[in-house]
């Protein structure tokens, strides 16, 4: 699966990246992670609130950092 993290590199985006990776590893998923830092690409996803978590092209979460449990739920 393809996991994309949208965010310009602020503290929340970094913690979302770490949590998403941790969740994917805990679940034993085969994944590919991309950090989308270019603000211009956000409208492709329809995202206004960063950080955002996009899984296989679907916006799963936007504007907040999930707990590890919540992230696992979003990835399955």
């Amino acid at each position: 699966m393809k996991i994309q993290i949208l965010g310009s590199g602020c503290a929340k985006c970094r913690s979302l990246t770490a949590i998403a990776e941790q969740a994917a590893q805990d679940l034993g998923l085969a994944y590919e992670l991309e950090k989308v830092t270019d603000v211009k690409r956000y409208p492709e996803f329809g995202v206004m609130f960063t950080p955002a978590l996009v899984v296989d092209g679907v916006v799963k979460l936007s504007g907040k950092v999930p707990s590890l449990e919540e992230a696992k739920r979003l990835l399955t």
């Binding site: 310009s8 602020c10 603000v39 409208p43 329809g46 936007s62």
Partner: protein, 440 residues
């Protein structure tokens, strides 16, 4: 070209060498012993101590909780609805000009939201209004400006930012009215609005928090009698009454255990009795107690703690660095740092148009990390900057910086960015000038 491309490993080592060489050079030529430098170091430390004693516990820590509560309890999606593509224009401008209070607590969210409103929402005008006012009217900026620089400059900053954001937004929309913006194909994905509490509860909760902040920071009045002096005399009783109301809300509305709240209350009262005349300590115990009550929970109180703690750890180091640098360069009010005061007053003293313009232009290009504009403007005012140029700097400074211009240019294109920057400088100059005429 191949001779210029270095092996990454070599480049890494070279970078370490460059850092070491720079540190050595700085240490070798360190002007320790020259009176101006030694005085400036003292100033930097004195200013930091003053912030720690006067502003940190009573003002900044409660402000982080308020900012965290805004992020956790105010439904941002419902605010964005008024900035959508179908929102009536006057409403969109109005909401755009004040939405920064609710949406832009962190400066790193401003540009994505701006682009969202521009491409997926109400368009260039309301988006520009949001972009201009956002950094100036977020809760932390208003609170710190009013506390450190005085209520009049704090109010002027908030009112100036909101009023002129509409002006700038309308001008941008008018100037580029012919350019039809193709909307992004994807509809904006807004976060699901959470099942909220009744609006009256939210309003009461925020009023109590703001009340605690206001009364705890109520300054001594210049006269011995009158309303302000009377309030000052009973400010800790008022603060305590609000704190009791706050505790009841935590218990009834947030489901925090009464027993744990009582422990914190006893600790606060105990500290107040043990250290009479030092209200900072009971407040600090209260803030730490609130953290103990809310941290690690799975419900919205836990989310509130996470947001408040997120702002705290993001902003405190930046502000500390800002205070140290401002103290080193500019000194406390009435003292000199590295930069001689006559330089400051000759550039931005008084209230000439040139002084306002200089403050606005330098503010537009300079980068201010969140809230650091406050100690810097405080230092400048202490070294002879006029109130008008101070406002001009406060209006143009956080709204723009060289890095944000570069991102903006990639969203808007060169022409619109150049027009926006010129409008910001122009409007900041004029509002600073008007404010300077009013107060002097």
């Amino acid at each position: 070209m191949s001779s210029l491309t270095l092996d990454p490993e070599v480049r890494h080592e070279l970078r370490i060498f460059a850092v070491l060489a720079a540190v050595f050079g700085a240490a070798y030529f360190l002007p320790v012993g020259t009176p101006r430098f030694d005085a400036a170091v003292t100033e930097a430390l004195e200013l930091t101590k003053w912030y720690a004693r006067e502003h940190f516990v009573l003002c900044l820590l409660p402000a982080f909780w308020i900012a965290g509560a805004i992020a956790a309890f105010v439904s941002q999606a419902s605010v964005m609805r008024y900035l959508g593509p179908k929102a009536p224009k006057p409403l969109a401008y109005g909401v755009g000009s004040v939405a920064g209070t609710l949406l832009a607590v962190c400066s790193c969210t401003v540009l994505p939201l701006f682009q969202g409103i521009y491409r997926m929402g109400a368009g260039l005008g309301p988006a520009t209004a949001f972009l201009y006012s956002g950094p100036a009217i977020n809760a932390l900026a208003i609170i710190m400006t009013a506390k450190v620089l005085g209520a009049s400059l704090g109010l002027a900053r908030a009112v100036g930012a909101v009023a002129f954001s509409v002006v700038i937004g309308l001008l941008m929309a008018f100037l580029f009215r012919r350019e039809e913006q193709q909307k992004a194909s994807a509809a904006a994905a807004l976060p699901e609005p959470e099942a909220g509490r009744p609006l009256a509860h939210t309003a009461a909760f925020f009023s109590v928090m703001v009340g605690i902040l206001v009364f705890a920071n109520w300054g001594a009045a210049s006269q011995a009698s009158g309303f302000f002096a009377a309030v000052h005399g009973v400010k800790w009783w008022l603060t305590s009454a609000l704190a009791v109301a706050f505790a009841l809300m935590l218990w009834r509305w947030f489901g925090i255990e009464l027993a744990r709240i009582s422990v914190v209350a006893v600790a606060i009262v105990g500290t107040a009795i043990a250290m009479p005349g030092h209200p900072t300590w009971p407040v600090l115990v209260g803030v730490l107690g609130l953290a103990w009550l809310t941290a690690g929970r799975d419900d919205e109180a836990g989310e509130w703690f996470n947001q408040a703690w997120g702002y705290t750890k993001q902003i405190v180091p930046l502000l500390l660095a800002g205070v140290l640098v401002a103290g080193l360069l500019l000194g406390r009010p009435g003292h000199e740092g590295l930069i001689p005061s006559p330089w400051i007053s000759s550039l931005v003293g008084g209230n000439s148009l040139a002084a306002n313009m200089f403050a606005a232009v330098s503010g537009a290009f300079m980068y201010f990390a969140t809230l650091t504009e406050v100690p810097i403007v405080q230092g400048l005012v202490g070294s002879g900057m006029g109130p008008g140029p101070a406002l001009a700097l406060l209006l143009a400074g956080p709204a723009l910086s060289l890095p944000s211009m570069i991102v903006l240019q990639s969203i808007l294109g060169l022409k619109k960015t150049a027009v926006y920057v010129s409008l910001v400088v122009l409007v900041a100059t004029l509002s600073g000038w008007c404010y300077g005429l009013l107060v002097t």
